[in-house]
């Protein structure tokens, strides 16, 4: 495991283009262990693409990403082994509809970490308790509300004991009254010291929980700062315009 403050991700000149459309334009940054990095920006700015390239759901077309010093964009990297260390939470939850909640949580630990069913079940129940959904263990995803689904999606990732959690607009598909329950889980996670990278439109959350905020626009990091400075004293004109529209 990493100590707080160790560099986990070192992103160097990351580019991604779809055809002639350059979505990420030479992005460079570092993400340290224990950080809660919040990424904001207008839609189509490339923020989701950046997040998704951190676990190679998008293959970069240029530059490199080092994770714990290892170049994961190298062809020889075992992507599947790498992804086991990176938790991912999607906007649309992507729970497995044909499996019960408990099976959703235990599938990967049993098949990939080779845990026994008893052990995986026990661990899954503890995780469910942590998000207050242990009574849903034998339910199917279709029987859950959006907020409950997203909480399950978060603990499904946690069941693999990831070193980093990535969140791609985790509350954007939720009814307003369900946003809070998901953000609470994420806040608890941050307090426990989990390294998190979050794309979101929840500015309150970014201010409260974030340790650093990135503003991505036109495929570039236009500004990055502590939440306080970021929101109270923005420098970049595009960021000022962006904040004036949403705050």
């Amino acid at each position: 495991m990493n100590d707080r403050g160790d560099v986990l991700f070192k992103v160097e000149g990351l580019c991604k283009s779809f055809g002639s459309n350059l979505v990420l334009d030479h992005i460079s940054t570092e993400i340290k262990s224990g950080e809660v990095v919040v990424i904001v920006g207008p839609s189509g700015s490339g923020k989701s693409t950046f997040l998704r390239s951190l676990n190679l759901l998008e293959m970069p077309t240029g530059g490199q990403i080092l994770f714990e010093g290892q170049n994961i964009t190298d062809k020889k990297t075992d992507i599947d082994a790498y992804r086991q260390k990176i938790g991912m939470v999607f906007q649309h939850f992507n729970l497995f509809p044909h499996k019960t909640i408990l099976e959703n949580l235990t599938l990967a630990p049993i098949k990939l970490l080779k845990k026994s069913k008893v052990e995986a079940d026990k661990e899954a129940m503890e995780l469910l308790k942590r998000v207050g959904l242990e009574e849903k263990a034998s339910a199917y995803p279709s029987q859950l509300s959006g907020g409950q689904k997203q909480r399950i999606a978060i603990v499904r990732s946690l069941a693999m004991h990831p070193e980093v959690m990535l969140f791609d607009e985790p509350t954007s598909a939720l009814d307003p009254e369900m946003v809070g329950e998901v953000l609470n889980v994420m806040t608890d996670l941050a307090k426990d010291g989990m390294t998190m990278v979050i794309v979101t439109h929840e500015m309150g959350f970014a201010k409260e929980v974030g340790t650093r905020v990135l503003f991505i626009d036109e495929g570039q990091i236009k500004e990055e700062n502590t939440p306080k400075e970021f929101f109270e004293n923005p420098q970049n004109p595009r960021l000022k315009e962006f904040l004036s529209k949403i705050l």
């Binding site: 676990n55 759901l57 599947d80 082994a81 992804r83 086991q84 990176i86 938790g87 991912m88 999607f90 649309h92 992507n94 729970l95 497995f96 509809p97 044909h98 499996k99 019960t100 599938l107 990967a108 098949k111 990939l112 199917y140 995803p141 279709s142 029987q143 499904r156 990732s157 693999m160």
Partner: protein
Amino acid sequence: MDDFKMRFYVNFIKDDRYMYLVKGLQNTLIITFFSALLGILLGFLVAIIRSTYEKTGKCKILNAVCKVYLTVIRGTPMMVQLLIMCYVVFGSYNLNKIVVAFLAFGFNSGAYVAEIVRSGIMSIDPGQMEAGRSLGFSYGKTMWYIILPQAFKNILPALANEFIVLLKETSVCGYIGLMDLTRGGDIIRSRTYEAFLPLIAVALIYLVIVMILTNLVGRLERRLRTSER
């Protein structure tokens, strides 16, 4: 009434003529069952290759082979394929006719199953593949544990339909001198010069089997739907 009894006796009981139907039905069921197995095997294989190519661009050559297979099988009549299998492919071998029919129908069915399965795979939300991959599952494992079980549930009605069609299509087996159910009925007709009873009996037997099959699939479907209350 006595007349009907008499006709029934002549067509089915006399000289143990019902055995034509029993033997024929046996052959029909054997051919259908094993062809369906081969069809499923081939169909899933082809479907996985094709959808892998469509999603990732890998398996280019295999995909081309699959496409030729689909085009040829779907572009020619089943009966012609059966005749070619019997008199061209295995023309110089003295292979059991049932094996010939099983291969011909299996290869034929595989092409149709492949397209059904492919449509099932393509109907699953791409988010499912992403969720599986980001947990650390390989492409193949995600397919096996996450995509295919969901796809299978969606295509079950179409798949059942394909096997009902397959069962009925085996009725052309008579053309390679194999006694299936249809040929069995026809033999009785040629012995007794009576068309009505033997052919109606054959039709009824097909109908009953199809009804049983439909019922079984319906039950399986309901069981698989438990996750969607």
